[in-house]
Symmetry: C2
Subunit: 356 residues, 2 copies
């Protein structure tokens, strides 16, 4: 009855529910109920069935079940191609925390990469509309949409992470980019800093807009003009985080009136910037204070140890999964809410009062 016609006596894989039923001496439907439903079958038959299943090494076929019940147990996470590298420090943590939470809920994690080409968009849409997927977590990206099909109309529960899309009706788990940067800028001002150097992410990017906005808010609150901050970068993708810092260091060298504090939108760019700046003879924090965003563990071991705004990515991952599973559980889709998980500044030696 085993489908593989192995000549050897090896059982190998391939025991079917029918095989279990036969061995246990019951009907297929009874096996199905014994394995799934709690009280629907006599405890004695259940025991017999479990024994038979174990003996045969039976594993239910996920696709058959999925087809029958009309839903898969796969959650798709969409990672933006560009952010991918830049946030390399945190992506593994995100994936691990999400995967862990999902598995506890009985789900599996599928990865999709969203580049800016039609191919990858189409691929994701095929996944979504092909019934392969039960829900979506999308990282820091707008929803893919190509020739008529949009992920928004897939009917799938979607949670946006890092990027706030609650306006578009999506559950969103974000951190307080703007506020966190505002606070740290205010702190720098309090220490006496008046001229700032801002290392930008990709122009127009949500995170960049928010974080730069935070800088401006703090300046305004302190009665400082927008001219107090020099923007550098903004042309490259996050993918080239380190490159941004390198270029920014060149940029910095050209300034006649040097800023005394640097606010970087990612740890990577801060690290490479600091490296080059120190190579040019400047001391940190003596000549220049530096703070960045992400909270990569490596910052602790830079010289000097870098102050960084730590994004609680694991917590955010868990929250995103919770929201997603809630949405899957309910048939009524609840109001789209923005869940904010606060980042916090890890203060290290890269920040000090300006010299003069």
């Amino acid at each position: 009855m085993n489908k593989n016609k192995d000549v050897t006596g090896e059982e190998q894989s391939g025991a079917l529910m029918a095989d279990v039923a036969r061995l246990a001496g019951v009907a297929i439907s009874t096996v199905s109920r014994a394995l799934a439903n709690p009280g629907r079958v006599n405890e004695k038959t259940r025991a017999k069935i479990n024994a038979a299943a174990r003996q045969l090494g039976y594993t239910p076929n996920a696709m058959a079940r999925g087809l029958r019940v009309g839903k898969s147990n796969i959650i798709m996470i969409i990672l933006p191609g560009s952010l991918y590298y830049g946030a390399s420090q945190v992506i593994p943590q995100v994936l691990q925390s999400i995967n862990k939470s999902l598995i506890q809920g009985g789900y599996n994690l599928m990865i999709a990469n969203l580049d800016r080409d039609e191919i990858s968009e189409r691929h994701i849409l095929d996944l979504a509309f092909g019934g392969s997927v039960r829900g979506v977590i999308i990282l820091s990206s707008k929803l893919p949409e190509v020739d008529g099909r949009s992920l928004a109309n897939s009917g799938l529960p979607i949670v946006s992470m890092l990027l706030d899309m609650s306006d578009a009706g999506l559950q969103s788990v974000v951190t307080n980019d703007r506020e966190a940067v505002r606070d740290v800028t205010a702190e720098l001002i309090r220490l006496g800093h008046r001229r700032f150097f801002y290392l930008a992410g990709p122009e127009g990017n949500y995170h960049d807009v928010e974080r730069y906005g935070g800088v401006l808010e703090a300046l305004e609150a302190a009665g400082l003009s927008e001219d107090s901050v020099h923007r550098s970068g903004g042309h490259l993708d996050y993918q080239h985080g380190f490159d941004i810092g390198v270029q920014a260091a060149d940029d910095f060298a050209e300034l006649t009136e040097k800023p005394t504090a640097v606010i970087a939108t990612s740890d990577d760019m801060a690290i490479s910037f600091v490296s080059r700046i120190q190579g040019a003879g400047l001391r940190i924090p003596g000549d220049l204070s530096v703070v960045s965003f992400d909270g990569s563990p490596v910052c602790e071991f830079c010289s000097p140890p870098l102050s960084t705004i730590k994004q609680p990515v694991e917590e955010m991952g868990r929250a995103a999964v919770d929201l997603l599973l809630d949405a899957i559980g309910q048939r009524q889709n609840t109001a789209a809410v923005r869940t904010v998980i606060r980042s916090s500044l890890i203060l290290r030696e890269s920040i000090a009062a300006p010299k003069n």
Copy 2:
């Protein structure tokens, strides 16, 4: 005919092959053939069918197909829970390169996390035996195996990456851990170093065994005794890469006769070690040369820039996928081969001749 009974006129998702067939005025089977087989159906009907499909926004149901043809298009990658963090620098690159290659082949990537508990092993086996998965890439881990079922008997093509399991009959894509470390050790010896400090990974771990073996080989070739190298670490998981370096620095401080060169088995531990050692007043490479393993981009921006043995992980990922897809394509499983992709030393300023 649409399965969702939306009152609104929205088409939404859910067009079936039957719907396409009806709209195109042909039989279901014809639609199936038109969409899949190349020459099996008249070009004119095919056009009609394609138009109908597009109009309805039809996307084939992957589970139905999978059930029928008896195979999924999902590849599972098994990431060891422990390595995960430690190699955080490279995991995203691995995932991205693997995913990219897979998608070109029409496959999707599912993530599985292998911790050392029965839960996660069982979960992976369920995936493998439940028909959800078409092939497996396993990173630096032995095959999960619990109560009778072993991944080895799943009948699935498996490629082991980073860890050489060709002896166990698995296609393996690895780097030349031993040789690379031997060469760099030999180079240090050539520069005049005679006392070494080795930062170990988890005791018994394949990579640690190989890399330490490389050190010993180089010592032996140079006629130096095994006592020339002091082993530190080896108790913690890779997960705590940075911690290993911190502890090792304490360990180093206790030594009466200081080594002049450090060989670390991961960049993370080298970075934290260097940080602490410098904090204690030692200069690198003046007092101590340092080289590590992985090739994380961040090494370039450490002070001093760290020499590191770069693992070509993207290349390895591609190679693993190629091997896997080959294995899937052929019905005869080819001989298990070890594919070695060479690591190369990136020489930076953290290495110099010893002072005296």
